[in-house]
């Protein structure tokens, strides 16, 4: 028994002397509780709802007020016609639209039923389902409210249209997310670990004491992973199309171009990590902290960014996979062209340039 207790005592001593592990053991759970408890939520609040009110009567006004009053929606009145609404949804400017036809109140009064149209951007099917559910329940609520005030039952039938993903398949949401994560995993993680492994084994010393320019050591490490990433990309896309039935609506060429850009961004982050760590374990840990965790939480495919507190939303702007995610969805699911994603492309390109610069500057031609 004594032996057992000795062991436990020793383990405690060692754990508490290792500052880095301590940070992880206590810091991480606390961070997670704060994040998941307060910052991240699946509840979607304050979604901008574009309302086109052709009726402009008492009932439509009441309905609009009711929706506006709820915490889930912020109403934005619009005077666009139906086609314009559709292209607005396509551009990603809006996620949800409600169209109230003319004679709304009259129809309710005399026909005891009226129709409204709800159009949702279902490229994020979870989100779309959630917000349409909210709006449907508010409409139903209004319906019963009406029934109490006026005599007779009235029925408001929302005709719901899910754009881009009518069957609400989840694949459209997670395939782009998986693409982003996989590319990041291979490029950032593997590259940084591979370089650091040379340092750990001591072969880096010999490589440095040779005519081979140090910068080429780095590139020669990155290139295999670059190629493997492209191969993986092809595999994912093929699986997506043939196994999951999710076609690539937009230009494949553009998709590959953007993916290559993202790969370069991820690689350069991996290279930076390799210059600041000295053991494979440290490289692994650093990649987790700096890339994987933020990517999981702040890319936008698990938790909607719009609903995060301001601080996290700002933070998500520097997570490269967030921009790549948008690009992939736009190109793959919505079939949009470069004109729709030029902004995000520019951001990714800018990030790559900055990271590469940092990496090259940081790179040590010597040990220590």
């Amino acid at each position: 028994m004594n032996q057992f207790l000795s062991f436990i005592h020793k383990e405690f001593l060692q754990v508490f002397r290792d500052k880095k592990t301590l940070l992880m053991l206590f810091g991480l759970p606390i961070a997670q509780i704060i994040l998941f408890g307060f910052a991240l939520s699946n509840e979607v609040q304050n979604t901008t709802l574009v309302v086109v009110d052709y009726a402009k009567d008492v009932a439509s006004q009441q309905l609009i007020n009711k929706i506006d009053a709820s915490k889930y929606f912020k109403v934005k009145k619009s005077y666009l016609n139906y086609n314009q609404i559709e292209s607005s949804l396509k551009e990603g400017d809006i996620k949800l639209a409600l169209i109230i036809p003319a004679n709304f109140y009259n129809d309710l009064l005399h026909l005891n039923k009226a129709q409204v149209r709800v159009i949702a951007d279902a490229s994020d099917p979870n989100n779309a389902t959630t917000v349409t559910n909210y709006i449907t329940s508010i409409i139903k609520d209004y319906q019963s409210q009406l029934a109490q005030n006026e005599s007779g039952s009235m029925m408001i039938m929302p005709e719901i249209r899910m754009l881009y993903n009518p069957e609400l398949k989840s694949a459209p949401n997670f395939v782009p997310g998986v693409m982003a994560l996989v590319l990041m995993l291979i490029c950032t993680l593997m590259t940084s670990v591979s370089i650091v492994r040379e340092k750990e084994l001591g072969t880096m010393e010999i490589l440095l004491v040779s005519p081979f320019k140090p910068i080429f050591i780095i590139f020669s490490k990155a290139i295999p992973y670059f190629i493997i990433s492209l191969v993986n990309l092809v595999i994912i896309l093929l699986s997506s199309v043939y196994l999951l039935g999710l076609p690539v609506k937009g230009s494949i060429f553009l998709l590959f171009f953007e993916s290559t850009l993202f790969i370069i961004t991820s690689l350069s982050i991996g290279l930076i990590i390799s210059t600041i760590t000295n053991s494979q374990q440290a490289a692994l840990g650093a990649t987790q902290m700096i890339m994987m965790l933020p990517a999981m939480l702040l890319t936008g495919f698990m938790f909607p960014i719009e609903n995060m507190p301001w601080a996290l939303r700002v933070l998500s702007n520097i997570v490269p996979s967030r921009w790549y995610f948008i690009i992939v969805k736009d190109v793959m699911l919505k079939g949009l062209g470069f004109s729709a994603v030029w902004k995000e492309t520019l951001i990714l390109a800018g990030m790559s340039a900055i990271f590469l610069y940092i990496c090259i500057r940081n790179f040590k031609i010597r040990l220590s």
Binding site: G202, E205, V209, S210, P211, F212, L367
Partner: protein
């Protein structure tokens, strides 16, 4: 200016406080086989790293083949061969693949300088398709040396190439080094084994970052200031204790089957007195002879002054 030159080189690693390399200066001539002899932590590896341009010193200058280690590091990296401690090889590549890689790394092929490494490589050639990680210590040593030589460097830096390797392989290795020396390659070797010191042209004894002495092994042995005796008895452990209690003993250390002993005085009746003393302690027929000091004797004298 010699092949290797250090002038007042100092390096302190922030954490420890005391310098790892403390104001060290010395020269190595072209074609010399120069030994850096000292225990772990003496500063050997730091000196190697500074000379191979992997580490910047805090102060002082150094040059290899006339090129400054700071300004001309790119040139130096082309002309030196380096074998860091624990023979850094690619464990998951074969013997052949390792050699080819290093040849290519320096812009050449294995064939270019094969005759330089032939004597060494033939001993491991039967295993050329084996993973480097699966070789014994002696084999790894030979492979690492071949890889360091394959581009015909003008200066060879070998950091503890014989540590952890058995005595036979160690002897073989030094014989290989001597043959290389005849090809005009300057070789700087570090080792904790004092007996290997005598195989070098000149050696530097180093301890705690400081050079204790630099000279040929012969001169160092001659520099030992006291008369040294070897003493032996049936009960060696008892002998050590008794001699340490003897009032005239200056130093007494075991060296294999004998003790190396020096005394504070040098009189005619010293030895008879010692013999009488030992007899009184129960030692039957102890042996006492004069002997020539070794490098190790001198090293001990330097680090253990009484």
């Amino acid at each position: 200016m010699g092949a290797i030159n250090l002038d007042k080189i100092t390096k302190t690693y922030a954490k420890s406080g005391s310098p790892a390399v403390d104001n060290i200066s010395f020269d190595v001539s072209k074609g010399e086989l120069f030994g850096l002899i000292g225990p772990d932590g003496a500063g050997k590896t730091s000196i190697f790293r500074i000379l191979t341009t992997l580490l910047l010193s805090d102060s002082g200058t150094a040059s290899v083949d006339g090129h400054d280690v700071v300004k001309d590091y790119e040139i130096i990296r082309k002309i030196v061969g380096y074998m860091p401690g624990r023979f850094s090889l690619y464990q998951d590549l074969t013997v052949e693949e390792n050699l080819n890689f290093f040849a290519t790394l320096f812009g050449g092929t294995v064939k270019d300088n094969y005759d330089l490494i032939k004597d060494i490589y033939v001993q491991i050639e039967p295993f050329k398709k084996r993973m480097a990680g699966k070789l014994s210590g002696g084999m790894k040593q030979k492979l690492a040396l071949s890889c360091a030589l394959i581009h015909k460097p003008s200066v060879l830096f070998l950091d503890e190439p014989t540590t952890g390797v058995d005595a036979v392989s160690r002897k073989d290795f030094w014989e290989m080094l001597n043959r290389l020396k005849n090809q005009g390659i300057t070789i700087m070797v570090s080792t904790p084994y004092m007996d290997e010191a005598s195989l070098c042209d000149r050696i530097a004894l180093i301890q705690s970052g400081k050079i204790l002495i630099i000279d040929t092994p012969d001169q160092i042995r001659k520099a030992y200031p006291d008369k040294l005796y070897v003493i032996k008895s049936v009960n060696m452990h008892q002998l050590i204790n008794d001699l340490n209690e003897y009032p005239h003993t200056l130093s007494c250390f075991p060296f294999g089957e004998y003790l190396h002993v020096s005394f504070k005085i040098d009189e005619e009746n010293l030895i008879p007195d010692v013999l009488k003393y030992l007899a009184s302690k129960g030692h039957e027929n102890p042996e006492i002879k004069l002997t020539f000091p070794t490098v190790e004797d001198y090293f001990i004298k330097l680090i253990n002054p009484k």
